[in-house]
Amino acid sequence: MRKKQPMASSTSSVITLKINGEKYTLPVDHRTTLLDALRERLDLTGTKKGCDQGQCGACTVLLDGRRSVACLQLAVAAEGREITTIEGVADGDRLHPVQQAFLDLDGFQCGYCTPGQICSAIGMIEEHAAGWPSAVTEDVRPEAGPPPLTAEEIRERMSGNLCRCAAYVSIVDAVARAAEARPDEGHAHSATGAEEAVA
């Protein structure tokens, strides 16, 4: 746990963060967010800062397996939690299925919101698999059973991740593919996608 070591003061602490299965011990100013600790202290810059106010989702990471925004998470308060960032979702050189689908289906343009979209999608697919309803789920009562992961469900569940390039259509396709679900519409369009597949 957090120790007040000589180099720490009442406004800073030496903490140990568990990130992508590795432990990092570092002194932090209590003001330091997890996002800034990752980006500026640990050189894990894959987690992006888009707004720093919880209003864009670019900094999405997984905390104890649940998607969260790192910009509103104080680093000192993240001690003891399992932190997974975009750098930790692949299996070595083998991309996570969500990453692979984003790559293959062009689920991005500038790429800046992409790590957040991918981490969010990974967490979202888990939430859906656990039976969580969403704001567009017609009947939230447990008796109704889990909703199918339609394009509409994906869109609502991913709405915490803004993409200003507006690659939304291909992001939804990528998430659907990775979730081994098909969007509820636009089957004709997937033919177009095939035409555009990697040459």
Partner: protein, 712 residues
Amino acid sequence: MTAVTTGTPTRAPSVGTGHTRVEGRDKVTGAARYAGEVPFDGLAHGWLVLSTVARGRVSALDTEPVLAMPGVLAVLDHRNALRLETDYTGLMGMRPDPTCAVFQHDRVPHRGWPVALVVAETSEQAREAAEALVVHYEQEPHDVEFTGERPDAYPLDGHMPAVTEKGDLDAALASSPVVVDAEYTTPEEHHNPMEPHAATARWDGGRLEVIDSNQGVTWVAGELANLFSLDPASVRVRSEHVGGGFGSKGVRAHQVAAVMAATVLQRPVRVVLTRRQMFSLAGYRSPTTQRVRLGADTDGRLRALEHSAVSATSTVYEFVEPSAGVARVMYDAEAHHTANRLVRLDVPTPTFMRAPGEAPGSFALEAALDELAEKCGVDPVELRLRNEPDKGPVSGLPFAGRNLAACFREGARRFGWADRDPRPGVRRDGRWLLGTGTAAASFPAGAAPSTAAATALPDGTFTVRISAADIGTGARTALTLVAADALQVPPERIRMRIGDSAFGPAMIAGGSMGTRSWSWAVRAAAGELRERLALGADIPPEGITVRTNTAEAIAALPPAERHSFGAQFAEVAVDVGTGEVRVRRMLGVFAAGRIVNPLTARNQLRGGMIWGISMALHEEAVRDRASGGHVGADLAGYHVATHADVPRVEADWIDDTDPDDPVGIKGIGEVGIVGAAAAVANAVWHATGVRHRALPIRPDRILSAAAGAPDA
């Protein structure tokens, strides 16, 4: 030494085939580093302090207590700042907006004007110190109120003449059996790229190096050299990955402040704008008020067209949003008047934002066309086909390809337009009223001189260098395909290096001209290299390099009206009880030149169309009259479309190879947004029977219209 052979001429072209992004793996793994993410030893952090008054002067800054705060290294303000040179004309043929020449005087011309930079060891320390800096002002009354009624509005030539006039407008209107006369407004809109502006500057052996997020490295390097009176050869700007730009990422206060601080402190300094700061420092699209008057025969053929637009600029720099320009391309009439006028307010300087002019202009013009179609009882698609000009309505020049009619025919077929009942307000799905709308799109196609270098290496690979920018357009990939075809090798053998001013001058990522301009240069360099290699030369270890410059070839292009075109279709659902509007489907069919990479191009065109949805329904920066500043200057207050706002938008294109371009390219970066907001607004009318002439079409406006106002 190794001999290298290039492929056979029969190799299938790479251009025109879908390819995933060459840097895609780096982007999905988080390995791609953006401007604020390149580490430097001894890095210090700068935080800008912005004015809290909208007009006046800085009378004092209490810097002493701030300098005593933990970690604070320096406070730069107008009293101690390096002097900057602003009397020059930059690469883009523009004089610098003095907003980027930070800390040169005590005047405050708008709220959010940079008055100081606090530099500290950590970003937390810099932020707290910047917030603690007490700045005293002599405040003066400000004027931030934009309306179309301003008597002080004056015509201004931007990158086009302010006013064009032919024929007797009043007479033509008077003799027209059908007249539309309406005023349209669009609000202040902000680019809000996902990556905030960020720059790290350092001096290294007498050379200035800046890691930046921008749309043109040689442009920004040139501006910095001018501003700081440096030898251009001693300034290097790199911008490998850029998290969106949309027109906002040129030279801005953050780079200049970072260079100034790095010079003073002689250590690397990074300055990153906060999302809130971007609202006053990153530029924006001016609000517009536009009056459109159309006179037509009963069959919809235009006799008179007037498009008059007013936009705002700051008191320190004239930037005009040329909304009326789109009418000069789209429709002809015997009387044809267009004008762009400007008012000066105590606000930040606006700038180019995706389809400057065309985006707001097409909203007004294409909505007015829809009103004309209604009045004439002519189908909106048919109305546009009847008004297709055979030459530039104002220029008289021939069109170098105008496949708009083909876009409409193909789009109408795919959208199912033929079955459309023209009556408004008669389709219902539960609580939703349904409607469809259409609009035309156009955006200029151009090319600007660029240089490129192509190198053959002994291992059989090629390196191509060009100071292009990939701000999400897929330029790096597109150029790889162009180079591969010119060399007749597989794309995997090309290494495309971009985003470094050391590669020499090139067009910026802007004006829908980037990929075309760069492809021209890359193709020339790679083609010449292939010819050189065909002679059977041995490749030395350093490779064989060919450099090209396209200035002469581009200057030789014959004058013509050169544009990309498109037809937009939208279906919306409106709940008039709650004011909610949802776009249910959208289709755009474009004639935009040869499509280099269908995979990324479709994505980009859809992105433009979604910007149109966002513009039609969501985006609006609210300026507070009392303070002169924004209310809700963040991504919770300024709404852009989310996943849930976006249906399965479809973008497609028809064959439209530009015969005057070596690769056949026109440009696709901007045409996607043009007309998109009008198509949505026209669909809202078709759903509800109410014309919404003020964007965005927010729920309160739908509700107010339903409550009685005949037209919102």
